[in-house]
């Protein structure tokens, strides 16, 4: 089995009010030096019976078609075997 860890993050320049709010909360809790907080999505997708190459191709396709919206988001993924 191959497990893909997919990270979807907001592109630079896209306002992230959730991140801003969390940053404010961290500051009010006394955590100093928080420069910026950006909130994204983390997905774990398990694939069966495919090669590593094929898994990478499929996950790339999934990201392009559904998992990320290229207008506002970037994505990257890591593959783990076993």
């Amino acid at each position: 089995m191959i497990r893909a860890k997919v990270y979807v993050t907001l592109k630079r320049g896209v306002l992230d009010p959730q991140g801003e709010t969390v940053k404010g909360a961290l500051e009010s809790l006394g955590f100093a030096g928080v420069q910026d907080v950006r909130i994204g999505k983390f997905m774990v997708i398990s694939l069966n019976g495919v090669s590593r190459e094929e898994a990478a191709r499929r996950i790339e396709g999934m990201c392009k078609k559904l998992l990320a919206n290229p207008v506002i988001e970037d994505y990257r993924f890591e593959l783990e075997e076993g």
């Binding site: 306002l15 009010p17 959730q18 559904l66 998992l67 919206n69 207008v71 506002i72």
Partner: protein, 236 residues
């Protein structure tokens, strides 16, 4: 005219749209389940508000792959009218039928209240019966209504007169306090380049009778009726 109102699992404004079209304006308006893959001779398709497919992942992200969406794209390609209201606007953006995307409101609050929008152009079948600069009083009801597109896209929309509605004060000014959700450039509604697909966050169907406090929204539906069916559709 024949209207088709598309119902996704999680849509919740389809009956309001149907009531306005059938009950108030006396038109044919059929509800169409999202699993349909062929559509018969509709002049205008409406994607109503709600939370299609739970809005999981991103608003409209899953709905855009519902079987009926291929037929909606085909209808738009043939010049047929498509109107996306609120969640419908989000779905049309995800489907690439309209540019941009709707993000979480800047305030992080779900907003449900009356707002004012200005008609930026009457050069669409949806606003032909309005006057340029006319201020409409319509409700919004959303969590993700902050319109965003990159600078190049917004400049193109502006240049090609595709920004159809902007949030304004009752007097018609695009003052900062009149922007309820942080939308870029106060954008409340846009159309495609061909001008037959319109998406807007406010709900015109909820402002179509005196009883509801405003009849501003009726202007959109009346505009569609007076524009008539697209000649390019050529129903058999």
């Amino acid at each position: 005219m024949r209207f088709g109102i598309i119902v996704f699992p999680g849509s919740n404004c389809e009956l309001d749209c149907q009531w306005v079209l059938q009950g108030v304006l006396g038109q044919q308006a059929d509800l169409l389940w999202h699993k349909e893959s062929t559509l018969k001779d509709y002049d205008c398709l409406i994607l109503p508000g709600g939370f299609a497919h739970g809005d999981y992942l991103r608003t409209g992200a899953v709905a855009r792959f519902s079987p009926i969406m291929a037929a909606v794209e085909d209808h738009a390609r043939r010049g047929g009218l498509v109107l996306g209201i609120c969640n419908g606007f989000q779905i049309l953006c995800e489907a690439g039928l309209l540019p941009g995307v709707l993000l979480r409101n800047a305030s992080l609050n779900f907003i449900c209240r009356q707002v004012h929008v200005r008609v930026e152009t009457t050069q669409t079948p949806f606003t032909a019966g309005c006057t340029e600069g006319q201020v409409l009083r319509v409700p919004i009801n959303h969590n993700e209504g902050r319109y965003y597109a990159d600078g190049e896209t917004v400049a193109r929309l502006q240049g090609q007169n595709q920004i159809i509605f902007r949030y304004v004060t009752p007097a018609g000014e695009a003052a900062p306090e009149a922007n309820p959700n942080g939308s870029l450039d106060h954008i409340a509604g846009v159309c495609n380049q061909r001008r037959n697909v319109l998406g807007l966050m406010p709900h015109p169907e909820r402002a179509a009778e005196e009883l509801l406090g405003s009849t501003s929204g009726l202007l959109l539906f009346e505009s569609i009726l007076s524009s008539g069916p697209a000649p390019s559709l050529a129903h058999g």
